[in-house]
Symmetry: C2
C-alpha cells in the first residue's frame, strides 16, 4: 500500500513538472495566437521526451498537433502508442479551423492525457474527458491548474465576457504626473521603455485618446530593438476621440505602413460595445490602454480595466497632467496580486484591478 502511495505521489509530481514544461513552451506563443489561447504540449514515454510544441498562431495547428508532428519528425512515430501527452489546456474536441485534437491523440495511440486547466467555455468544458475516455484513453485534468489559469487570464476573460482583457499602462512621476516639469513627455528611462514595448508585443491592440494623437503623435508600434516573431503583426491602434475631424490626418498612425491597422471610434458612450466588436471583428484578446488621465478615468469608472502596469519614474515636478484626472471615482479600485521591481532608474508596480 505504502509503496503504491509513494509511486502515485512520484507520478503526480512528475505530471506537475511536465505541465510546467509545457507551460514554458506556451509562453513562446503569448501575444501571437489571438483570438486563440497560447498553449504548449509535451509527449513523454517513460522518461523520454518524444516531442514538444506550442500553438504559434490562429489557423495553424494546435499545440497537441505540433507536439505529435515533432515526435514523428524526430523518428518516434512508432513509440507514440502508449505514451503520455501533457498539455496546458483541455484539448479541443470540436471542429474549428483545424480538426479536434482529441481525435489526433486517439489516432496516434496515446494512452494517457494530462492537462492543466479545463476549457473555460461552459459549452465545451470536460468534453475532452468524455471523448478520450470513451476511446479508452486515461485522462487527468486540473494539474498545475492555478499556474495555467494565471497564464491564460486574458483569454479566459475574453471567452467568458466577450470583451478583451484591458491593461492600463501608466508611465508617471513619483507625484503622479504624466508629463515632466518643463513639458517633457518622455518620462521613463530606456529599460522601462523596453519593458513597455515588450508589453506591446504581448498585446493585440493599443488604445489612446485623440488628445494623445494630437500632442504626442505616437507611432504605437513595437520597437525599442525588440525582435518581432514571425507572424506577429504590429498591434491594432485604436483611437477614442470626441470628434474625428480634429485628428491630424498626417499623424503617424494614419500615414505609416501600418495605417490599415488604425481604428478610430468617435464620441463613444458604449465602451463595452466597442470592446465586444474589437474581440469579435478583430480577434483582439489583450488591449493595452496607453491614454491620458481623462480617458483613463472613463475606463475606470466603467469598471472595464482588469490589469494595471505603472512605471514610476524618479521625478517630482508638479503640473496639471495627472495620471488620473478629476474628483473621487464612484468606486475606488484596488490592486491585488501585485508585483514590483526596479527597472533601470524606474520602478514597476503591476497587479490585477478590482473594486476595493
Amino acid at each position: 500500500m505504502e509503496s503504491s502511495f509513494r509511486m502515485d505521489n512520484a507520478q503526480a509530481s512528475q505530471d506537475r513538472a511536465r505541465i510546467l514544461q509545457a507551460l514554458e513552451l506556451a509562453q513562446r506563443g503569448f501575444g501571437l495566437t489571438s483570438p486563440n489561447p497560447p498553449v504548449g504540449a509535451v509527449i513523454y514515454k517513460d522518461d523520454r521526451l518524444l516531442g514538444s510544441g506550442y500553438h504559434h498562431r490562429a489557423g495553424e495547428p494546435h499545440a497537441e498537433r505540433m507536439a505529435l508532428a515533432d515526435a514523428v519528425e524526430k523518428g518516434h512515430a512508432n513509440e507514440l502508442k502508449g505514451s503520455t501527452i501533457y498539455v496546458t489546456l483541455e484539448p479541443c474536441s470540436s471542429y474549428g479551423k483545424t480538426p479536434p485534437c482529441t481525435q489526433g491523440i486517439i489516432d496516434a495511440g496515446i494512452s494517457r492525457v494530462i492537462y492543466g486547466m479545463v476549457d473555460p467555455d461552459e459549452r465545451h468544458r470536460g468534453r475532452a474527458d468524455a471523448v478520450l475516455q470513451s476511446a479508452g484513453v486515461e485522462v487527468k485534468g486540473g494539474v498545475e491548474e492555478e499556474a495555467c489559469r494565471a497564464f491564460l487570464r486574458p483569454w479566459i476573460h475574453t471567452v467568458c465576457t466577450g470583451c478583451p482583457w484591458v491593461i492600463a499602462k501608466i508611465a508617471a512621476t513619483l507625484d503622479g504626473r504624466i508629463v515632466r516639469a518643463g513639458g517633457e513627455h518622455r518620462i521613463s528611462g530606456e529599460k522601462a521603455r523596453k519593458y513597455t514595448h515588450r508589453l506591446r508585443l504581448r498585446s493585440d491592440a493599443i488604445l489612446v485618446g485623440g488628445q494623445t494623437v494630437r500632442t504626442d503623435n505616437p507611432e504605437l508600434t513595437i520597437r525599442c530593438g525588440i525582435e518581432i516573431p514571425d507572424g506577429k503583426e504590429q498591434p491594432w491602434r485604436i483611437v477614442f476621440t470626441r470628434s474625428a475631424r480634429h485628428l491630424p490626418s498626417d499623424a503617424k498612425i494614419f500615414s505609416d505602413k501600418h495605417s490599415n491597422r488604425t481604428l478610430v471610434y468617435e464620441a463613444v458612450e458604449d465602451f463595452q460595445g466597442v470592446l465586444r466588436e474589437l474581440y469579435k471583428k478583430y480577434g483582439i484578446v489583450t488591449l493595452l490602454l496607453e491614454c491620458g488621465g481623462h480617458l483613463l478615468r472613463e475606463w475606470l469608472e466603467r469598471d472595464l480595466v482588469q490589469e494595471w502596469v505603472q512605471i514610476v519614474s524618479p521625478y517630482i515636478g508638479g503640473g496639471d497632467n495627472l495620471l488620473l484626472s478629476g474628483s473621487d471615482l464612484r468606486v475606488e479600485k484596488i490592486l491585488s496580486d501585485t508585483q514590483t521591481r526596479r527597472c533601470g532608474e524606474d520602478f514597476i508596480i503591476r497587479g490585477l484591478l478590482s473594486k476595493s
Copy 2:
C-alpha cells in the same frame, strides 16, 4: 616584501571589518543623540575584543569613553595599553559637555586609533590626528569612510548648513492622492504605518501644516507598538500655519502630555530661518515633513528637502488631495540612491532628493 604587503592587506581588511562593527553599534544611537552624531567604538588587542560602546545621548559620554569604560568594567584595564580603538567618527579633540576623547585615549595608553570619517566641521577636521600623533599614537582615518558618511548624512548636513536634514514622508495612493476615494485619510496598511513610526523614532521633529491639524487632529507621536528607548523623548511637533488663531486649541498636540513639545510658526516666509532656529535652539538634526500637498510644494520650491520616503498604497481613486499640488515646480527634483521594497500591501520608495 610580499609577505609584508599581505600583512598590510590583511590588517586593512581587519580594520574595515572592525569599523563596520563599530558602525553597527552606532546604529543603536540613531535618533537619540541629537544634536550630537550617533557614534560607535570598539577596542581590540590582537584578536580580543576588550570593550565596546556607543554614544547614547547628548550630555552623556562619547562612544570612545563608553568603550573604555566597558573595557575597564570587564576587567581589561591593564590590557588597554598597546590596544587599538576603532571609532566611526574622528575623535573629538576639544572640550564640549565632556572632556576630549583624544585625551581619554592617550591616558588609557591606547597605541593605535582607526576611525571612519573625518570631522565635517572644518574648524576641527584632522585635529585629532595631530593631537594623538604628538602623543605617539598611530592614527589612520578614512576607513570605510563612505559607509560612515552615509550613516551620518543628516548630521553632516546639519553641521555644514546649520539646518536640520529634512525628510519628506508621503503616504499616497497609486494615483498620487493622499486621501482615499470616499474620504478615508488612513491610506497605508499596518506594516507601513509601523515603518512610519520607526521613521519618527529616528527623527527629532515632525512638521505639519495647520490644515493637517484641523482635518486629522494627529498625535504626531511614536506609537504603533514601537518600543521607545530610554532617554528618547517624543519628537517635537512643529506646525506651520497661516494664522495660529485658526488652530483648534483642543487639538491633541496642544492638549496631550507632550504639549510642551509643540511649536507653532505663523505665516512663515523665511523657512530656512526657522530651520536654523530649530537646530540652534532645539538641537533638531532630523526633521520629518508629514504635510499635505500645498505645504510640501513650498518646501520643494525652496529646495529644503534632502530625503524622500514615499509609501505607495494599492488604491486608485482620484480626488482633489494630491500628494503635490499645483503647476510645474520651478525646478524639477530627482530621486537618487533609491531603494524600493514591499511593506505589507504597500510599497516604499526612498531616496535622496536633488535638482534634476
